[in-house]
Amino acid sequence: MTLTVEYYAILKDVTGLSSESFEVPDGCTGSTLLVAVSERYPKHAGLVASVRIANSESYISNESTLEPDSTVLLIPPVSGG
């Protein structure tokens, strides 16, 4: 299945992209997706490991199964305020 992954802040800077597609197996979890992202950006694996994943409505657990064709936000440690 295909997922759209959105990057923010430092992750957008290091990838040079605000979003891109990933082909992943059906039933892919958040954790599995993060492994795929790390493999595409091995220099930034530490940063990828620090993100929380979310959809546009709320954070989601790394263990939850991602929906086909869904958009997944990678949220680096936040620094608002």
Partner: protein
């Protein structure tokens, strides 16, 4: 008694006097307001401006949840949460949080809860722009 809430993420300068007046109109007795501003000096480096980015839809949803949690904990009459994004010049407010309640202790506690949770949970990021032209994304807020 209807609770009145303003939650906003905006590119514009935050109109603090309007927010304070909105809170005071509750005639509750107590208003506590927290204003986060650009800190000019951080570990000896001079910051000339900050730039903020957000994941807007998620950020607004998370702010809604935080305000709902506060309303369960304290008898809040009115509440405002406004975060600025884009470029914020030195001395300008990046965030304003305010709470109107009947008693002062509640206003302090609720306001502090809101800013603490915002800093922990809301997908907004700060980029420091230093005097020497360097820029740097801040990743993660310190506990205080």
């Amino acid at each position: 008694m209807s609770i009145t809430v303003q939650i906003k993420i905006t590119e514009d300068r935050i109109a603090i006097p309007d927010l304070e007046a909105f809170l005071r109109e509750a005639e509750g007795g107590a208003v506590n307001l927290f204003v986060g501003t650009t800190r000019r000096v951080t570990e000896d480096r001079i910051t000339v401006e900050l730039s903020y980015e957000c994941a807007r839809e998620l950020a607004l949803a998370e702010l809604d949840r935080i305000v709902s949690e506060a309303k369960v904990k304290w008898p809040i009459l009115r509440v405002v949460v406004v975060h600025r994004v884009g470029t914020v010049g030195a001395g300008e407010a990046s965030v304003v949080i305010g709470v109107a309640t009947a008693h002062r202790v509640e206003s302090f506690e609720a306001c502090r809860f809101l800013i603490d949770e915002l800093k922990k949970r809301v997908p907004i990021w700060k980029k420091e722009v230093y005097e020497d032209g360097d820029t740097e994304w801040v990743t993660g807020n310190s506990p205080s």
